[in-house]
């Protein structure tokens, strides 16, 4: 302890500076900017795959990447909200499919006007979220159990309602197929669905970072009892998160029609795991209260980049699964490490 200096204050500063090793500084940086690590990973992914096959970063491939990411990215918005409150949603895909099948069936079979059919589907998504929310906040069941149950219920309802049949886009009104329409900027094609998803990120991202509702979502995920004692209506906030998520899944279902060119009750079977993967790789903590939407968007892009990159590299598709699995474990380990930060 022989720090030579004129004043005690300077000595303390000297010590404070010495304490920060490179690893601590990185830890601190990642702690303050949770989207930083997924951003770096995405950059590395793109660079590596481009080196392997230069076609990876040409505009056509990139626009395909964006379009293929859109549906999971939309679902992951709702999933992020729920994981921020330390919950988990296994019914994401089921709600999107149910909402989509009801919209498509009403329009194609029952002759409802497209706008009305779409509104009915979105309201159904909201109602499904409300059901999850009620079960979590009123009965106090763990989100995992609630959504495990509603996953089966909504999946069954979608199959029963649609008779297990897909509805091709030539039988659907223009409004429902609109999410698949698009325009080209050079060789980069943008669909309405992609724009809607970007809109979702902007609106929900704004609500999370700029409104008191967003603050409360983080506070409730962080420590629900502390939030309650601080005057936050924890249960109400939690409920609103499930309801909003349900509506978002409904919108995701609409973009899925455009993407898939049909409304099929057997679409996006991996939606639950893919949305959770995107959120986790995106740096949002499964323990709640930490993370954000930007990371989720990057996380969704990373997963899709692996899919496209590996197939362009001529690698067996199963390696993609392996790579994503490794990424998830790395991401959660990084989260654990970051949580130990002390300034």
């Amino acid at each position: 302890m022989t720090v030579q200096s004129a004043t005690p204050g300077a000595a303390a500063k000297e010590l404070a500076r010495r304490e920060h090793t490179t690893s601590q500084r990185i830890q601190h940086l990642l702690h303050q900017h949770p989207a930083l690590s997924p951003a770096i990973i995405l950059l590395l992914t793109v660079v590596c795959f481009t080196i392997v096959n230069s076609r990876f970063s040409n505009p056509a491939a990139l626009s395909l990447l964006v379009q293929q990411t859109a549906v999971v990215a939309a679902l992951a918005v709702g999933q992020t909200l729920i994981i921020l409150t330390a919950g988990i949603d296994l019914s994401v895909g089921a709600i999107a499919i149910l909402s989509m099948m009801v919209t498509a069936t009403l329009a194609a079979e029952n002759g409802w006007p497209a706008g009305l059919a779409l509104a009915a589907g979105l309201v159904l998504g909201l109602a499904a979220g409300v059901l999850n929310g009620l079960l979590v906040t009123r009965i106090g069941l763990p989100p995992f159990i609630v959504t495990l149950g509603t996953l089966s219920i909504f999946t069954a309802l979608a199959l029963l309602y649609s008779g297990g049949q897909s509805i091709q886009n030539n039988r659907l009104p223009a409004l429902l197929n609109w999410t698949g329409e698009g325009f080209a900027i050079g060789r980069f094609r943008v669909t309405t669905g992609v724009l809607i998803v970007i809109g979702l990120y902007v609106v929900v991202g704004f609500a999370l970072s700029q409104t008191s509702w967003g603050r409360h979502v983080y506070a409730v995920g962080d420590d629900p009892e502390a939030a309650r004692l601080s005057g936050v209506r924890s249960r109400r906030v939690l409920f609103s998160v499930y309801a909003v998520a349900g509506l978002i899944y409904g919108i995701a279902g609409w973009t899925l029609i455009g993407r898939a060119g049909a409304a099929s009750p057997n679409a996006i079977v991996d939606a639950n795991l893919e949305s959770i993967t995107a959120v986790v790789i995106g740096g949002t903590s499964l323990f709640g209260g930490r993370g954000g939407l930007l990371g989720t968007l990057l996380g969704a892009l990373i997963v899709q980049a692996f899919t496209i990159g590996l197939s362009l590299a001529g690698v067996d598709a199963q390696y993609r699964l392996l790579a994503v699995g490794v990424l998830v474990i790395v991401a959660v380990s990084v989260d654990q490490w970051i949580r130990k930060v002390r300034s």
């Binding site: 008191s212 603050r215 506070a219 502390a226 004692l229 601080s230 005057g231 300034s343």
Partner: protein, 270 residues
């Protein structure tokens, strides 16, 4: 000690700002409160002392909406009132530092100070887009922390989890002091604090009293209690064992009543 206005004699002439009658709170078969009365008069510091598990925290939680009493009546400024949750008590001007501190670790200091009462930007951005006034809240939070004389907190945007236990306590106290408009309740606010910081909190309590704000202070530190309290509510086994003042009883006598070694006969004021 110049501001001591509430001698046991004249409390009868005054109207309590907050009072509770017959508060009962049970947790399954555990009796937390067994019919407790409490009066808080304007501009006084009322200390609540008692052994561990005597029901002090349960009592103030019932007063501040954190717990709903099974029975009993609360009166705020002579009007009966019921709190459905902490937010109701806060809205009524009762600000509390709970024993568990109730801060959100991942949020920064400024967000914690304003948690549950965020301020929006003026104009369209605030009214229509409900946008928060981040900068304004940050500046006012910094001022509130500075006012308390908490020098150890350097950055108001630091997350609370990176603070020491004492600094967290200081944040919780700053929040209560900054927002309390009728009553400030402090459940062991100096438990994790050093000597200097404890004295700052005691000075703050005296400052609140000078502003005319009544304070309920729970503490195990008898010298502190005898230094700042106007009256002392002794809680024992879920009941009130009596109310004394630092002048009517010595610390030893107070502790004797608290532990049941002595009884309070003639000095009960209510």
């Amino acid at each position: 000690m110049t501001a001591t206005i509430n001698q046991p004699g004249d409390t009868a002439l005054q109207v309590p700002i907050l009072s509770a009658r017959g508060l009962v709170k049970t947790f399954g078969r555990v009796i937390g409160l067994d019919g407790v009365d409490l009066d808080l008069f304007p501009g006084e510091v009322l200390a609540v002392i008692g052994d561990n598990g005597a029901g002090k925290s349960t009592l103030i939680k019932c007063l501040t909406g954190a717990l709903i009493p099974d029975a009993g009546q609360l009166t705020l400024e002579q009007a009966p009132i019921t709190f459905r949750g902490p937010q109701d008590a806060r809205a009524a001007g009762i600000e509390t530092v709970y024993q568990t501190l109730a801060v959100a670790p991942a949020l920064d200091i400024a967000s914690n100070l304003y948690l549950g009462r965020e301020e929006r930007r003026p104009g369209l951005l605030g009214n229509v887009f409900r946008m928060l006034d981040h900068r304004g809240m940050r500046d006012r939070a910094a001022a509130a922390v500075r006012e308390l004389g908490i020098q150890t907190i350097q950055n108001i945007q630091q997350t609370v989890e990176t603070l020491s236990g004492g600094q967290r306590q200081a944040v919780a106290v700053a929040r209560a002091a900054a927002f309390g408009s009728k009553v400030v309740v402090l459940d062991e606010p100096t438990a994790a604090l050093g000597v200097k910081e404890s004295n700052q909190v005691l000075d703050m309590i005296k400052g609140l009293r000078e502003r005319g704000l009544p304070v309920i202070l729970i503490s195990h530190n008898m010298p502190h209690v005898w230094e700042v309290a106007d009256r002392i509510h002794i809680q024992r086994l879920g009941r009130c064992a009596g109310v004394i003042t630092p002048d009517s009883h010595t610390m030893t006598e107070g502790v004797a009543i608290m532990t049941g070694a002595a009884n309070l006969e003639d000095n009960t004021s209510t």
